[in-house]
Every structure is written in C-alpha cells, then in structure tokens.
C-alpha cells in the first residue's frame, strides 16, 4: 500500500460508494410516480467494510513487479436491496418521496464530508511535499 493510499485511508472508497448511492436515491426520486417501481437502497456500512478490507468486487490491477504500486479501480459493485415500505400504495410503488429526499440530502452531506476530509489530507500531503 502506497503512502498516498494510506493517507486517503477509507475516504476515497467512501466517496465512490456515496456517489453510487446518490444515483440509487436519485432513481428512487425519479420513479416516485412510476407504477410498480420498488425503492432500492444499499447497505452502506457493510459495503464500506467490504471495500476497506478488499473483499468487495474491486478490480485490482495486475502487478508484475513487487515494487509496482497497487491500484484498485473505482469499480465496486454495490449490494443493492429493496426498501421496506412504510405504507403500501395501490399502484405497487414503494417510493416515499419524503424519505428519499431526506436520505438523498443526508447522503449529499456525507459525500461532502468525505470531500472535506480528502481535501484536508491532500493539503497535508502538499505541505509535506513542498516542505514549507
């Protein structure tokens, strides 16, 4: 694991997962009026655990030499589950747009948290590189 990987620790994985989750929640909000659409979401913490321990479906680059840097690709297959609806609706749609809106903004804030963390790490690294 390179020093850059270690500096970013879990935040880069978290950001990728968060951006996947934005799409899933955006799809839920988009399909709020679609008959028979079932709202979906992903289990973020277990996905992050998988990504952090390298158990996820991460595509690692082949290393032909020990001194090559290891580079995992951004591809993590999210484990997607259906949401349990709070109440049934006649057209078979399980989207509660208020719940989805709340989750969407929560996810957006958490994405920005990861961004801020990464920004801080990058600033620290820059400082170390420049030494001033």
């Amino acid at each position: 694991m390179s020093i850059i990987d270690r500096a970013f620790s879990i935040h880069d994985d978290a950001m990728i997962l968060r951006s996947h989750r934005t799409s899933i929640l955006a799809a839920n909000i988009a399909n709020a009026d679609t008959p028979d659409y079932k709202a979906r979401d992903m289990d973020f913490s277990s996905m992050l655990k998988q990504a952090a321990t390298g158990q996820g479906n991460k595509l690692n680059m082949a290393r032909t030499n020990e001194s090559h840097l290891s580079a995992g690709s951004a591809h993590i297959d999210p484990d997607i589950k259906y949401r349990n609806p709070l109440h049934a609706s006649l057209d078979g749609n399980t989207v509660d747009s208020h719940v989805e809106q709340a989750k969407f903004s929560e996810n957006a804030v958490q994405y920005q948290t990861s961004l801020t963390m990464l920004n801080g790490k990058i600033r620290g690294l820059n400082l170390a590189i420049k030494g001033q």
């Binding site: 951006s19 799809a27 679609t34 957006a108 820059n126």
Partner: protein, 136 residues
Amino acid sequence: MGLLANFQISGSAISAQSMRLNTTASNMANAETVASSEQEAYRARETVFQSYLYDKARPAEAGVAMLGVVESAAAIRTQYDPENPLANEQGYVFTSNVDTVEEMVNMLSSSRSYQNNVEVLNTSKELMVRTLSLGN
C-alpha cells in the same frame, strides 16, 4: 456510473413529468369542449410511466420513460343545448369527461415531482463541481 448518471436519471424524470403537465394542461383546456357525438367528444388523457434502465449492469439506476398515453374510460356527459351549432338532431351536445378536480391534483403532484428532480440535479451538480476542485 456515479454522479454523472444522475443527470440521465433526473433528466428523464423531469421530461416525463413535464409531459404529464402538458397532458394535464390539455385536459384542463378541453374541459368545456363539446362535440356532436359521443365518439367525437374529448376524453381526458393520462400518461403512463415506466422505469427505464440505461445500463443493464446497474439495475438500481433507473430513469423514467413514457409508456404511452391512455384515454379515460369515464362516461361522456350529455347536455341539452339546442342553440349550440354542434347539437345533434335531438338538441344534445356531448361534453368531455375531464374531471377538473382530478386534473388539479395531477398538476400539483407532477409539479412537485418536477421540483424534486430539479433539486436532485442541482445537488448532484454541486457535488460534481466540488469534486472537480478537489485538492485545490
């Protein structure tokens, strides 16, 4: 695909909702339209949505597509109006089967959904812009 997919997803929803708004507008406009036979009378139209996958490998990122437009099967009302040039031999005209209250509700619902999706787009855009300036 992450944040970039949101533009497709929310964009499709915005376009579907604006189609629904258009249909409602046309129904409202024709609420008072009369015709000289039951076949010619205006029937309320309604859009049918379907979820649409952009990428089969990503089943959770579905947009919205218009499946089609269906006409309402509600009964056409007849009105006795012999002065009307469109009246039939018995002096009746056939009014549309548009339920204006239902159309108003439809309009509010689609405009709210439209706003929701615009909000999602704005947030996604904001997140993308902030990601692009990462490390600056």
